[in-house]
Symmetry: C2
Subunit: 307 residues, 2 copies
């Protein structure tokens, strides 16, 4: 692999595109392969064994692209599968969204002796206790409030915007109990949730710092690539560009985004701008059974019985 | 196969248990194998090619049980896959939930010249036009109102009951536009929805006949088995029962229910009584990759590109 190699970003569906958006802001020159497992979404209500199998299959399927880094851009998949997936692919650099989110949350909590940090996430992420562990490693005395919000992903995937009374009611139901406990920090522990960030900030008020793990995750990837001297800052991809405008500074090389989905490329293409901010080309379709043909060398990708 | 052979009932998750409940009322002596594809649910937002592949794999996987009938107890799967699945398994008796529901809806519409029949269902079921076709075959001049309700399945799977204000708001949002059109009949076009039947009846009022396709589907299965002389009315399974209570009539033979799921057997067992009315034994777990190993003889079960 080289600085020219792509970065893989994977998620159950569309939510991980908020991480792609943040990555493209920080690292505009990087080529990105995005994989949305739309035939098997959502991950948030499923078990660790099942989700780990899905993630192992996706990474094994994309191995031929020789990626320099893999981002698990889904809180559920990070919480349930990251350690297992690192063991399955020992030569591969892999990161998730939870450690960066936890780091930002503890920083935002400031100097308070016992800050209250709330996490809004899927059922599976909450059940995994991954945020609790990651935050308590940094701030032993933080008080944690954990709130599963199973409906938010389906509500967002239905395309409802923040003016819909049902969106407001659902957010009030999920955030209300947290508000009575006077939280200092609220972590949006799912890459879908930034779509409603403005409304969430309004409901919780100015006194609460809202952490969006997508941005933190992108900074973390940039830091990792810089340490490994694998940043793609090779200048413009098209060597002729400079000849037309001598004396002007070269624009940064524009990285390519290529998307793969396991179901309904047209729907994915239609909804993507909501998460990414810009339109995308039609994604390639990968049949779920092609994934099963790409088990990892140690048998990763074969599923074992859920606990 | 014989009258002792089991009936297979399959669904993406829990909803098909409303069909099992109705089947056990009509046919208490039948053994039932229930398959809930919980690792890949929901089906309602996915394409025909993907859902057809899933259903073919499940039926192929259960072939060794030599079932006398297969019920696709999911409106989405019926709408998207029934004709293709019948072609894949030509020797197998297979039925769905849409034809029985359409038959009951047109009967309920009575003598009115141009009745208005509304269908509340998943996005995929509505998009398939399966209800429109099935109803118009019987009543050419029925006026159809079709309403996708993508959030209802996730709301029901979250375990919210009918007293929750969000349930009421979602139902009012989905049913409101139908009410302004003065429907005569409302078809609950998803096997999950009967869980809120009482509240739905209250919202639409007494003038609207509400059709629950689970009951119609069970009657249809009974009729099919009777014609084929495959009803299991063999009397008590335990021949000694009568010896303890001479003179008393034998209780009907009690059929067994055995469940298979692709994810989280414990969650399925916990939520099942909400749909079935009674508790169940812990389901067996089937890894999704075992299903991919059971493609049908003609290649059914391999997926092809979604339209």
């Amino acid at each position: 692999m080289s600085p020219d190699s792509p970065i893989i970003v994977l998620d159950s569906g569309l939510g991980g595109l908020t991480v792609v958006r943040a990555l493209r802001n920080v690292l505009p020159g990087e080529d990105i392969l995005y994989f949305g497992d739309t035939a098997r979404l959502p991950y948030g209500s499923k078990t660790g064994a099942t989700v780990t199998g899905f993630v192992q299959q996706i990474i094994a399927y994309l191995r031929p692209y020789d990626a320099k880094h893999v981002v698990i851009a889904c809180n559920t998949a990070t919480a349930l599968s990251l350690p297992a997936v690192r063991t399955t692919f020992p030569g591969l650099s892999i990161s998730g969204v939870i450690e960066p989110g936890a780091k930002a949350a503890t920083a935002a909590a400031g100097a308070k002796q016992v800050p209250t940090i709330a996490v809004l996430a899927t059922e599976a992420t909450i059940r995994s206790k991954a945020y609790e562990r990651a935050i308590h490693r940094r701030r032993l005395h933080a008080r944690m409030l954990l709130r599963p919000a199973p409906l938010l992903v389906p509500i967002i995937e239905e395309g409802r915007d923040a003016t819909d009374p049902l969106v407001r009611l659902a957010l009030q139901q999920y955030l209300g109990p947290l508000l009575t406990h006077h939280m200092d920090v609220l972590v949006l522990g799912c890459t879908h949730y930034p779509v409603y960030k403005e409304l969430i900030c309004k409901i919780v008020g100015n006194a609460v710092r809202v952490i969006d793990s997508a941005e933190q995750c992108a900074d973390d990837v940039a830091r990792r690539l810089k340490i490994r001297k694998l940043l793609n800052d090779a200048g413009p991809a098209d060597g002729t560009a400079g000849q037309d405008s001598p004396g002007r500074e070269q624009p940064p090389r524009s990285g390519q985004l290529r998307c793969f989905v396991t179901d309904d490329p047209a729907r994915f293409q239609r909804l993507a701008p909501r998460f990414l901010g810009v339109a995308i080309d039609k994604p390639a379709w990968v049949a779920p059974d092609e994934l099963y043909g790409h088990a990892a060398p140690d048998g990763g990708g074969r599923l074992s019985v859920p606990a």
